[in-house]
Each structure stands twice: as C-alpha cells, then as structure tokens.
C-alpha cells in the first residue's frame, strides 16, 4: 500500500487494522534471473535498482538472518560526499544525490537530514590536506566550505577552543552532508523492491556457489539449490567467506568498527562533527541520542563486538573535542564487521568468474554509499560491465596499481 | 671534562616541584624520589653469545642474571631485562657516566652496547598507596604476589611508554620513561597520587 498522510490518518481512525506487510515472505523459486546474496542495505538497494532501472523483476535477495541485520543497522548514519580522489568523488556525489530524492522515490521516510558535516583540522598540514580535498569536491561541482577557527566556533561554540591539546584551526564544511535513519533505508529498499516483484528470502543461508566451466550457475542454500546465471555478492564483512565458496580470494580483511549512542537529550548539536586529532565523529539523532564512533579495533574479526581499549579511545577523543560531554552517558554500543580493502576504497565489479559479481571493500564508508552502490551494482549486473561511476572500483586494480588510497597508508587494511 | 663545560639539564627540570602535593592532611600515601643523575646503556647479546653475556652481567652485579624481565642491582648499577637477549644498564648517582663506561668496556666482547644519551628520567615511587596510584595508569598486575621484588616490566601509563621494576617490598617501584614526554607522564602521576597525598623529593 502507498504511504501517505491520508493512509496514516485513515488507519489511525480505523484502529490500524488495514496496515499490510511491508514486504512478502515468499517461498524461493527454482530459478531467478539474478540473485543478490546479502539482504543488507547494499543488497536490497541493488535489487531495488535492478527492478526499477533495468526492468529485472525475477530476482531474489537471499539473507541469512533478517534484513538489515548487518552494517546498515549498525553504523553512525552519516552521509557525505567529501572525498578526495577522482575515483571516489563522483560516486559518492551520485550517492548523495540519490539520498536527496530517496524518500519520494521509494515512498518511505528514511529521514534524510542534510544538516551539514564538518571535518575539523588542527594543524597547517591538516589544513592543506582538507583544502586539497575541498578543492577536489569543488572541481566536481560539489559545494564545500572552508571554515577558519572562528567559523567553526560559530557552528559549534561548545568545542574545546581554549585548552585543547590539539587546537582547532578550522574545518571543512559540506552542508549537504548529514544523517539518515539507517534502519529505514533497509526497510524502504526492501519494501520498494518487494513491490516491484523482488523476492526477499530471509532466514535463508547461502551455503555454496555453483560454478560450471568458469560460469556461475546458482547457489546452494539452506532452502535448497536456486539456479541463476547472475549472482551478485553484497556481503560486507562476510565477503571473503562467501567469495571463497566460489574459490575466489579477495583483497579484504574483516574488522570490527564499534559505534555508540548516548541517552537522549534535548537538541545539542545540529551538524555532524568529525574530530581531526583523534578518531571521533558525532551527531545527534532526531530522538535526541548522540550517535558517535571512532576507529576500528584493528584486528581481524567476525565477532560483532569490540574491546575496551577502542571504546576508551573513542571517549577520550570525544572529551578532548567537547568537554561538555562529560556527564552524558553511553547508552549502548555495538559493532559491525567492516570489509576493509587493501587501499581503503570499495570494489564493485566483475570477477574472473562469469556471472559472478562482487560488491565489497566498503571499509567505513558503506552506509553513505548505499544508494550509489546499489545503483552501480545493478548496472554492472544488468549490463555485465561497470558503469562509469564504478569503473575505478575494479577488482583487478591492485594488480595494475590503479589504487584509490585516500589515506596513503598502502596495503594495510587496518590503517584505512 | 665535558661536565665542567656543559651542564646537564634533567628531564624533569622545570616540571617537578619538590614538596607535598595533593591532599595535605596526614601521612603521604605516596613518596616520589626523582633520581636526577643517571646513565643508561642498551645491551644486546651478540650472535651466539647470550650465555657468555649472562655470565659477564652476573659478575657485574654479583648475582645471577636471567634472560627475563627482571632487575638485578648492585650498588648504583642495575641490569634489567627488556627483551630476549637485551638488557638495560642503568647507573644512578654522581659518577654515573664513568661507572657506565667501565661496565660497557667489560661487555664489548659478548654484547653490542649502545650508550643512550639519557633521554630518560628515573623516579622511585613508594609508600602504602603506591600500588593504588600506579594502577591508575599501569595495566599490569602490581599485586605483591604477581609482581614480586626484582620483577620488571615494559608497559605504559597514560599512553606513554615506561619501564617499571619493583626494587623492594616497601614497596618501591623504579619508573623510567622518556624525557620528551616527562611532563605529560608527570601530570598523570601527580594527579593519580593526589588523593593519597604525595611527597616529592630529589
């Protein structure tokens, strides 16, 4: 059913008995035109755009648990396109544009809130790097603003300007950046895809990928074999494990990124603020909770939890940036498994196996990329070739040396 | 000699203020004595010379030395294990540099010795609340049953690397850390001792 003010009023008056399931719970078919493995944000978005943009409707999304149980439900909800390198900016900017029209597009309020993202810098060399980044954005037609110290103060007077170990010199502002209600993204795409005929198979685990003569032919699942000549993997932290089912080794390590939310308080900050002298970023949700995070724990893991050191590190950076946080409290912490790539940038593309496509390597950047990732992956699967927007995200770039290394830390995934 | 021409400046000069700190009432729970004059060398066993080196080191301090994180001392000279086949020699007191050089001469055959120019500071921390104060930054177990007299550890406090050894059961902990971060470590240490009252002396 279509969601609208009227449907809410009508159902309110009639006791809500008319609300129908947001998506079906279908039985798997024997064969699909395309299968997406992974019912997270990227997988659901891929299915949605395959149906919407490429007219493929006989498709299935196969999810081991419940939809959105991966990183789309465990992140700090930030969206932005303030990237540095040519391979990245157009892609993330496309993503931001899709975010901007998403709710009307899939008729679900994901609360896309373009409240602004500020990256703080704390030294002259930091500043030069951010200026370079801001200019890269401006060259792409993406508006960025340079804030000096006083400029930052006008947005966030509560930061530590007077007694900081690393004084704030200024910031780079992208006003179009912001936050999104993360769970709603998965739900909106799921509902949109379902309405276009996509089968969302929850609690269905892929246990094998069948390849014959170098071509993908289908997947073994906990509910039987499902045939398909196009299989897209969008498995985030589990990418290596799933790709291994097809005998594929990926330049990926799985790491845990922890995130946190505070108790709800009345509005304190509007922007998303990223600290430059330590790994810390924070925003406030519409419910009032401060949502924040820091660095990955740094060791390979598939356990969706982290350790105390990283937690303490995040809070130290938080207090260093904003000493008024002291009496607020962490309410809940969680961890998501990040598919950290060897250059810190994603991989969306073909593989050496015909009909098998990968979408992985999102590092921290997966959430904000969700719409463009789905959009590009859908294109890549439908046309069997990448779109110009994801052309740089080839799997073979590590062999050719066409790396997209924003941080310049090289083949060390836990440094990206 | 050089000492006559150029004077040394100790790492904690301008940072450490002798006297009572923190809580003023009652006996000080922690006593910190800063040993200003030290000389330090890094000793690494030459290939195949580990056993020979251990004998030389043992002779120097008149007690067995093991390839373990332990501190053995005689008079002003101490030898502390810091890594397999590696030790740190520390001489305290006025004639520290000369004493150290004499020791180094004995070691040449079995070890590669790197004289460190003393970018370090050393403090003895003792008193009934010393363990409680140190536990505010040091993550290893300092319980007398776990960290016994003679035990040594390289670890950190307040994100700053340091070397800790227990030299007697008063207890007195020897702490050695880099000069460059001495001010920050000092800020942590004195803040941690504050609630117990702290006597600082040179």
């Amino acid at each position: 059913m279509h969601y609208s003010l009227w449907s809410v009023l009508r159902e309110g008056l009639s006791g809500g008995k008319g609300w129908t399931p947001a998506w079906r719970d279908p039985e798997p078919k024997a064969e699909y035109d395309a299968i997406i493995v992974g019912g997270g944000g990227h997988g659901l978005a891929s299915a949605y755009y395959l149906a919407k943009e490429h007219g493929l409707t006989n498709i299935a999304v196969i999810e081991k648990g419940y939809i959105g149980s991966g990183n789309v439900g465990r992140n700090t909800t930030i969206i932005r396109s303030n990237y540095l390198l040519p391979g990245n900016i157009p892609f993330y900017e496309h993503s931001l544009k899709l975010w901007e029209g998403l709710e009307q597009d899939f008729n679900y309020n994901a609360m896309v809130s373009q409240r602004g993202v500020i990256n703080l810098f704390h030294s002259d060399s930091d500043r030069d790097r951010y200026v370079r980044r801001g200019n890269a954005m401006m060259f792409e037609g993406v508006k960025a603003e340079y804030l000096d110290r006083e400029g930052v103060r006008s947005f966030a007077p509560f930061l530590d300007f007077d007694n900081a170990r690393f004084p704030i010199h200024g910031g780079l502002l992208q006003r179009r950046g912001g936050t999104v209600r993360h769970d709603a993204v998965a739900w909106g795409y799921a509902r949109g895809a379902d309405q276009r005929g996509v089968d969302i198979l929850q609690n269905t685990e892929v246990t094998g990928i069948k390849v014959e003569h170098g071509k993908a032919v289908g997947v073994e699942t906990s509910r039987g074999f499902i045939r398909s000549r196009k299989i897209g993997l969008a498995c985030a932290g589990n990418s290596s494990r799933v790709a291994a089912m097809a005998g594929l080794r990926l330049p990926i390590e799985s790491h845990v990124l922890q995130a946190f939310v505070s108790e709800g308080v009345k509005p304190l900050i509007n922007q998303v603020i990223l600290y430059g002298a330590g790994h810390f970023y924070i925003s406030q949700s519409d419910k009032g909770g401060l949502v924040f995070g820091g660095d990955i724990d740094g060791y390979n893991t598939y356990a969706q939890r982290g350790n105390l050191y990283t937690i303490e590190d995040v809070f130290e950076a938080g207090m260093a940036m904003w000493p008024g946080l002291g009496r607020l409290r962490m309410l809940r912490q969680w961890g998501g498994i990040m598919d950290m790539s060897m250059d810190g940038s994603p991989i969306i593309g073909l593989t050496p196996i015909d009909g098998l496509y990968v979408n992985c390597g999102w590092c921290y950047g997966g959430f904000k990329a969700t719409p463009a990732s789905g959009w590009c992956f859908a294109h890549t699967i439908a046309r069997n070739e990448p779109h110009q927007l994801n052309a740089a995200y080839r799997l073979d770039r590590f062999a050719t040396g066409h790396l997209i290394d924003e941080r310049g830390t090289g083949a060390q995934p836990n440094q990206h | 000699m050089a000492e006559a021409m150029l004077t040394k400046r100790f790492a904690l000069a301008g940072i450490m203020v002798p006297g009572r700190h923190g809580k003023l009432i009652g006996e000080a729970g922690v006593t910190i004595r800063v040993v200003g004059d030290i000389a330090v060398a890094h000793v690494s066993a030459r290939k195949g010379q580990n056993a020979a080196l251990l004998l030389v080191l043992a002779r120097m301090v008149g007690a067995p030395v093991a390839d373990q994180p332990q501190r053995v001392a005689r008079d002003t000279l101490s030898i502390t294990g810091i890594s397999p086949g590696q030790w740190r020699l520390v001489v305290r007191g006025h004639n520290s540099e000369a004493t150290l050089r004499a020791a180094i001469a004995e070691l040449q055959e079995s070890a590669v010795v790197t004289e460190l120019g003393d970018g370090l500071f050393l403090a003895d921390i003792s008193g009934p609340r010393a363990r409680a104060a140190l536990a505010k930054g040091i993550a290893i177990d300092l319980h007398p049953g776990a960290f016994k007299v003679g035990a040594a550890a390289q670890t950190s406090a307040s994100h700053i690397g340091l070397h800790l050894a227990l030299i007697d059961d008063k207890p007195t902990f020897e702490m050695i850390s880099a000069a460059s971060t001495a001010g920050s470590l000092w800020s942590w240490l004195t803040s941690s001792c504050g609630e117990y009252g702290c006597d600082i002396s040179v």
Binding site: N238, S240, R241, R249, L250, P251, I252, E253, S254, G298, Y299, N300, T301, Y302, A303, N307, L308, Y309, M342, F398, A399, A411, Q412, P413, N414 | Q68, P69, I82, S83, P84, A139, I140, A153, Q154, T155, S156, G161
Partner: protein, 93 residues
C-alpha cells in the same frame, strides 16, 4: 582481549600493533616474480575461525609475535615469537 607475550606475560591488546595474516606476510618471496609478490602484498587469509596473525608488542618488549587467535570468539590459542616462526618457515622450505 589479552595476548600472552612469551617474554612479558599476558597483556591487554592496547600494547600491541596488528599487521595481519602471518602465513601470508612472513613468506617473503625468494623469487622476484610479480605473481608471488601480488599474493604476498594483497591476498591474505581472512578466515572465520582460527587465524595465525602478526602482532607487534610495541608497548612491551618490541617483539613481533605470531598469535593464533579465533576471529569468531577472540580466544587466543597460542603465541610464539615471529623469530621462531620464521626460523621454522626457513627450516621447512
């Protein structure tokens, strides 16, 4: 998480720096062929379960260690120095 350093004893993971898959990263190719080096630099095991990996005890004895750890439970099943492990590799090859 706590890692038992063979020299220093058990310490929290704050004191360590992690590099990654020990089996891949310690087998520095003897031959300078591109294929071998591509594997060496970019393809590391990323298993769910037991994993041998390189940890550096930066905050302690500064030794590189090979830690066998379960990536699902974070349980540490064994620690040896990289020096010993490397000598084993050499002896085996």
């Amino acid at each position: 998480m706590r890692i038992g350093c063979p020299y220093c004893g058990e310490r929290w993971n704050d004191e360590f720096v992690v590099l990654g898959d020990a089996d891949a990263m310690m087998k520095h190719p003897a031959e300078a062929t591109f294929a071998l080096f591509y594997d060496y630099v970019y393809l590391r095991d990323n298993p769910a379960g037991r994993h041998r990996e390189l940890w550096y005890h930066q905050g302690g004895c500064r030794q590189w260690l090979v830690v066998t750890r379960d990536t699902l439970t974070h349980a540490v099943h064994g620690v040896e120095t990289a020096r010993c492990a490397a000598q084993d590799i050499e002896a085996a090859s």
